[in-house]
Amino acid sequence: MANLTFIVFCPLVAAALIALLPRTFNVLFRLLALVATFLSLVGAVRVFLALDPGATGLQFEQQVPWIPALGMSYHVGVDGLNAGLLLMGTLVAFAAVCVSREITERQQLYYLLLLLMAGGLLGAFVAFDLFLFYVFHELALVPTFLLIGLWGRGEQRNFATFQITLYLSLGALIALAGLIALYVQAGAGTFNLPELTRQLAAQPLPAAAQTLIFGLLLFGFGILVSLWPFHTWAPTGYAAAPTAAAMLHAGVLKKFGLYGLIRVALPLLPAGAQSWMHLLAWLCLGNILYGGLVAMRQRDLNLLIGNSSVAHMGFAFLGIASLSVVGVTGAVVVMIAHGLLAALSFAVSGYLRQHLGTVNLDQLGGLLRAMPFLGGVMVMAMFAGCGLPGFANFPGEALTLFGAWNAHRTVVILAAWGALVIAAVYMLRAVRALWHGPLPERWREARDARGAWVRLPFVLLLGALVVFGCAPRLLTDPLRPVVARLVPAAVEPGATPVQAGPPAPGRAVETAVFTVRREVAR
């Protein structure tokens, strides 16, 4: 099962099966979706464990020609950079199917679309053909539109549906223009990423072309990741989306843009990267500070999570803007951590909305007494969001700040404030408003998440956050060699690579996983 095609096509094949079944087999739709995403998850775990952390090349590679005339092929593979993302993606996809119990209408279409979306985003993370990479990402566009439109919530649903679709299409098309320009300018007649990398390493593009193309990629991908000031689609879109769609989109799909920047833009256009990084550093400050301040004012839990997710993306951008191995490594850790965190937060918020009918902070309170399990999960998620050590967000954010120190000192100082103070303020206020204080009479009968199946998605996501938080080397060790290759201009003279020192409790887990890896390698 440690086969990338298997991981990607499990959901897609299940989607096709669901399409062929008669309309009344409601139980089977859910079962198929669960099985498919679970198999993908198992496959991704095995790939992650079997990964050789020291290798820089592609592993589990598969390549089949697709459109030879344009130099496109079905080319998938993993290395240290996307193995973690793939694991996170499958985990979130499985959790998203788990929490979809709340959907009772038109289940056939729902699971079909959800699986299409899951297959698309998993494919995007393992594709090593620029074109395949793009096509897989866009596979999720129509499902997102329909999922939000059909099962979405709130008065702004219609507006949010079109806003998110148009924004994402614009971003994707700008990025596509950048990718095509790269293809045309490189003149190699191939969309295959390793080949393009070789070609451009031998003959780099002229600096002016690099600057132009990098700009296209930066803003195209940036729109997809809600780079300030192109972020307004994210909070409204997520607030209107059904829980599973918000989890998949905020958690996984949104990372596509960052992944594209790290995988494509940085290594192929190093000179272009240099010329844009200063601007990016200041824009990401917009994400961190502005997103955080807006989050502070929200009275709707979904909008708060959505805005905080905009803020968290700022750290990933900051890591990229540092153009250093440490910073980019941090950015990837932030991507994974935030994927888990966003999925977890939206899952809790979705549960609250389903059982309480509202997620307005003014109407809630004291729920920790009625819902101790969910409350505990949410409080831990909020702590993770503030960047508390022990959760995966901490090493990620710390590494981005360390990495960016040399290049963007002012930004780092301001961002650190944003991270520590603003995030703490809105997260703690949300905790107080939701869980503490007197329990209103109407919520006295509120049901906590009971039963292993209901708790499973929360436990999985939180568990992954803690494991990667305590043992960040699981992620950073395989990342380092790959990132060092992708960010060639990175290592500044005199700067020593920061060793991501893991807290002591992580040692045991790490040792265990490395032992497993060695065993598998054998």
Binding site: F162, S169, V184
Partner: protein
């Protein structure tokens, strides 16, 4: 004799039309509706037969007036497929016509013959005759529902503006002849190369361009489109959007790159500006539309703009993109019109709001509409996406020589995003629009199912395996002599 062999496909089409017309006289009324199936089957056979016609080497007939090369063959297959699907559409629409069902199919065949001749034109006389054959047939087809006032209005508008365009066209041809003494494309190209800047000749060619711009619905010759599309019956609108536009386009390709390559090479910003205007007008006009056919009319203008991007690139990649774009466009447009026929039938109006609840009462139709609209919007992995992708690629390639193409690529991206807005509006109406009371129950005939399946397979298949059609498009485009 050999001349007749070269135009065998066209002859077969004309004979099909005549045969159907005669059979209508002899047959009893009861089996007459089956003539639609006969027509479709005959067109299908001719389409199959076309694959035995070799594209290489190119053959000419009638003293070089007519050519059978890769480009011609590509378009002939395109037109045959379009007419085949339109016949299916017309069969499903039959209840909407009061009478003359068989005449409708015969006229479709005659228009098809005109389009197929257009694909092979090497001579301004053949160009004019082919265009007139198509246009005059469409005068009848547009107002075929003769009791519907909007259909009559559309027919009158199409007649007047079509006649105007024909006047431009024939005037242009006359000027070209006056300036060069030749009407064949090769001769005109030679004169153009010899006497660059002959104003009479340039004016003549520009007027020919105006006439063809009318056919493909390019701004500023698009005024007729929304009204005529709205008034005509669904099959006619579909055939106008696909067949008539492609016929104009193949003639434009031939004139631009065979009759006047030298003029095309120094046309400067004319084509990019026209492309940008057409796209912009189409997408902006489509936003507020309430009627499906009117929306498709504006979308047809926008698509003419997208196609012009490929011509504006003035390279082989651009022509290749145009050909592939048309192939994807054919399936997507016919899919949308097939769904529309099954939803509205011959009803007077076609309010998009009436799609409400389609996702519940007819999931197959809603899925078909979604596929068609998504492909038109250019969402991967559907056929329409490849068209837009290839066009962008061609424009960016050409940008190295003419930076105006970079601007045009930017306009294309913005227009594509706006297009997503109105196409997805259709999807929204089908899935979460308010169900209206008048919704008809829809039962699909086997023919309708087959048509829907064929178009859906075309849209998805061209998206997943574009390589074969891309190879055909490339071979066909290579014949234009870049």
């Amino acid at each position: 004799m050999s001349d007749v062999a070269v135009i065998g496909l066209e002859l077969a089409v004309v004979l099909t039309g005549l045969g159907v017309l005669l059979a209508d006289l002899w047959l009893a009324p009861a089996p007459r509706p089956r003539l639609a199936l006969v027509t479709a089957a005959a067109l299908g056979l001719i389409l199959l037969a076309s694959f035995w016609v070799p594209a290489e080497p190119a053959r000419t007939a009638f003293g070089g007036m007519f050519v059978l090369d890769g480009l011609a063959l590509f378009f002939k297959r395109f037109f045959l497929l379009a007419a085949l699907l339109v016949t299916v559409l017309a069969r499903e629409f039959a209840a909407g016509f009061e009478a003359g069902h068989v005449e409708y199919h015969a006229l479709t065949c005659f228009a098809l013959a005109g389009m197929m001749f257009a694909a092979s034109a090497q001579h301004f006389a053949l160009l004019f005759v082919a265009v007139e054959l198509v246009t005059v047939t469409f005068y009848v087809l547009v107002s075929f529902q003769r009791r519907r006032r909007t259909a009559l209005e559309a027919g009158a508008k199409y007649l007047i503006l079509g006649a105007l365009a024909s006047a431009f066209l024939v005037y242009g041809v006359a000027l070209v002849y006056a300036a060069t003494g030749a009407l064949d494309f090769a001769g005109v190209a030679r004169s153009l190369a010899a006497s660059a800047g002959n104003r009479l000749l340039v004016t003549g060619l520009l007027l020919v361009g105006v006439g063809l711009g009318f056919k493909i619905a390019a701004a500023p010759f698009h005024i007729w489109v929304p009204d005529v599309y709205q008034g005509a019956a669904f099959p006619t609108t579909a055939f106008l959007a696909v067949g008539s536009k492609a016929a104009g386009l193949v003639l434009l390709l031939r004139v631009l790159f065979e009759a006047a390559p030298e003029l095309t090479a120094r046309s400067g910003h004319l084509l990019p500006v026209l492309a940008g205007l057409t796209m912009g007008y189409g997408v902006l006009g489509a936003i507020p539309q309430q009627s499906l056919r009117r929306l498709m009319g504006y979308s047809s203008i926008a698509n003419a703009g997208f196609l012009l991007v490929g011509l504006a690139a003035r390279n082989v990649a651009g022509v290749e993109a145009v050909l592939f774009y048309l192939a994807g466009y054919l399936f997507a447009v016919l899919l949308v019109f097939l769904v529309a026929t099954l939803v509205w039938g011959g009803a007077e109006g076609d309010d998009i709001a009436a799609l409400g609840g389609l996702g519940q009462r007819a999931p197959a139709l809603a899925a078909g509409l979604t596929l068609g609209a998504a492909s038109l919007a250019g969402v991967p992995p559907l056929a329409g996406f490849w068209g837009k992708f290839l066009l962008l690629k061609a424009a960016l390639q050409a940008g190295a020589e003419d930076p105006a193409l970079y601007t045009l690529a930017a306009v294309t991206i913005v227009a594509a995003v706006v297009a997503i807005y109105y196409y997805f509006g259709l999807v929204r109406a089908a899935y979460w629009g308010e169900a209206t009371g008048e919704a008809r129950a829809t039962t699909l005939t086997p023919l309708a199912r087959a048509g829907l399946a064929a178009c859906a397979v075309g849209v998805v298949g061209l998206g997943l395996w574009p390589a074969p059609v891309l190879a055909w498009a490339r071979a066909a485009a290579a014949g234009l002599g870049f």
